[in-house]
Symmetry: C2
Amino acid sequence: MNHPVPKGFRLAGVHCGVKSDPTKEDLTLITTDSDAVAAGVYTQNVVHAASVKQNRAKTPFDRFRVVIVNSGNANACTGQRGEQDARELTRLAAESVGAAEDQALGMSTGIIGEFLPMDALATGITAAKARLAADKAAFESAVRGITTTDKFVKVASRCLDIDGQAIQVTAMAKGAGMIGPNMATMLCVVMTDATLDAPTAQRVLSNAVNESFNCMSVEGHTSTSDTVLLLASGAAGVPLLAAADEPQLQDAVTAVCVELARMIPTDGEGASHLITIDVQGCATREDAHQIAKTVADSPLVKTGIAGADPNWGRIISAAGYSGVQFDADKLTLSINGTLVYENSMPVAFDAATVSASIRDNHETNLQFSLGEGESSIRFWTSDLTVDYVRFNSEYTT
Amino acid sequence: MNHPVPKGFRLAGVHCGVKSDPTKEDLTLITTDSDAVAAGVYTQNVVHAASVKQNRAKTPFDRFRVVIVNSGNANACTGQRGEQDARELTRLAAESVGAAEDQALGMSTGIIGEFLPMDALATGITAAKARLAADKAAFESAVRGITTTDKFVKVASRCLDIDGQAIQVTAMAKGAGMIGPNMATMLCVVMTDATLDAPTAQRVLSNAVNESFNCMSVEGHTSTSDTVLLLASGAAGVPLLAAADEPQLQDAVTAVCVELARMIPTDGEGASHLITIDVQGCATREDAHQIAKTVADSPLVKTGIAGADPNWGRIISAAGYSGVQFDADKLTLSINGTLVYENSMPVAFDAATVSASIRDNHETNLQFSLGEGESSIRFWTSDLTVDYVRFNSEYTT
């Protein structure tokens, strides 16, 4: 992979002992050389990890210096001691780079209901601090340090030219559904060397998340720890982003988030298909989102795709029970570009051809048109296979 | 089974050729000897079968004479011709018993997107009319005539004594989740010989459905045809039900609906557990329903139970993302009577014992207490097994 680290950032990932495998990084530090802007978007789950609560109280702000991520233990459902541990972790991370505790953010992902091994993490912070760098090896170790059950690492980047000045946007994410006792989580850190104020960073990140991570599900089970951060170092040496240039940066941040969001259901437990759901012609974007998410979370739709079955009845009826009111007579559905349903009736189509197009491709496209308005959405999910159920039911505590 | 047919009803189920297997009944007639009261509750899916639309326009009313049910073909997603066929079906059924078309209701369940075999059904109506009876054999043939993929028939009854007068409530249902190309459906007919006015019948039925069929899901995929009818013949010869006696009838109707509702996830495709979810201490019943349904539809919770895994983290976090706001610190969870989570922390418990209690019993109980109010709900679902996915993905059109 070739994803430059934006200017002003140094990173490192080390193994400190949270994961049992000593070859696997389980602690990542991402630092900025001076005060930077940080924005965040977090899980809506009312049961959430201590780190989510603490980050939410800090962002957006312009005094960011360091984020510590540990993988292997989510520090969720750990009560007051968990909150103390989360605070101690950010205090140690801040101290290691000569910053104040309120300049540090934290993220934890992994098993829930167990206390963090604080001694190991303290030693790990010291080790990671010593290895902070901006080179490819440092970046890759940091990326591995945030993963848990991921089968592949998830990184994306864009290089921008704004008024003749180069801006880098580089992001990493982790997430692959959930397995065993782990409450797997979606984490993402977007780094840029653009110069932003805190409200702009928050606006750009929120917009990007709305088009990407909020349009993606593996099994609809929202984790306790989902966190997306945007860090802006300002180290490219360019002036504060002008309002006129914001769309360009927005496009780049959205693009990396979409690229990463698509990778998560691709890596979904046992998944054999990435399903892209386009819902068009809705009265509002919320309606389109509601329909897409309902279709994405239907076990009957997901098992149908796993079996390469162009079962339009399951797909149409899932849209129908989403809670959105629409005129069923105007609904159309295409599967991989073939119209299969129109005017409240199935359209004659070659089921064998459509089935083969599902079976022979990793990606399946479902396209709805509602005829109710101009709003649309694109949503991603994975299919539901025997392997998913096996992974998630054969573990016993 | 010993479930008396209430007075004033005659029934029959016959094979007419909708199903390919000639030993399987696929058409049922349920008639009353004179005008009766009928109330209905229907699917909320905006994509619904023609029969649902037509029944909804008629009920509640007091001129009911006959309901025709066919199984094997849902007559859903069949456009204008489907609507004409549904009207013709009720017209033929009404004619066979000497009634007007607006005195007949209809239900269809089975594959979607195909037109009804009207000639076969017309012949079947004549055959069924000739066999109408109130004996056990007639009742059993009628029950079989409404089933599709059900592994067992679903019937329940109660006998009431109101002011020294005997009232019979007997009900039949079908439903087992969904499989293959079929959009399996939940249908239920509750018969009573009590004397009710139409508004009372509708109120009693709606209340019963709220406590039973609306608190049950197999995979959260609402069918296009779900229908529950309450038919009151008044043939017991008792006076119009007094308001003071309504609670007694309500209890009986609710009880048969709950008994039938529990049978459906028990019969869920590939299901190995019936999961009973009790959510207590909520601010409103709607909150309790929302939490219970979210937990019931979580693939991670369902696969966990299939694997006999007392994975409280999945269960707690599913409650957390239901959309209901609550204080996570006050939440408690018990699995099969063992407290596993309290004060934002796991409670020390013997995981092997709880796991065995799941593995060794058909029924698993999850009990939440929220500490937010006095409202509660009981909800039923099935677990999610490898067999479910296999059934639902291995069929290819």
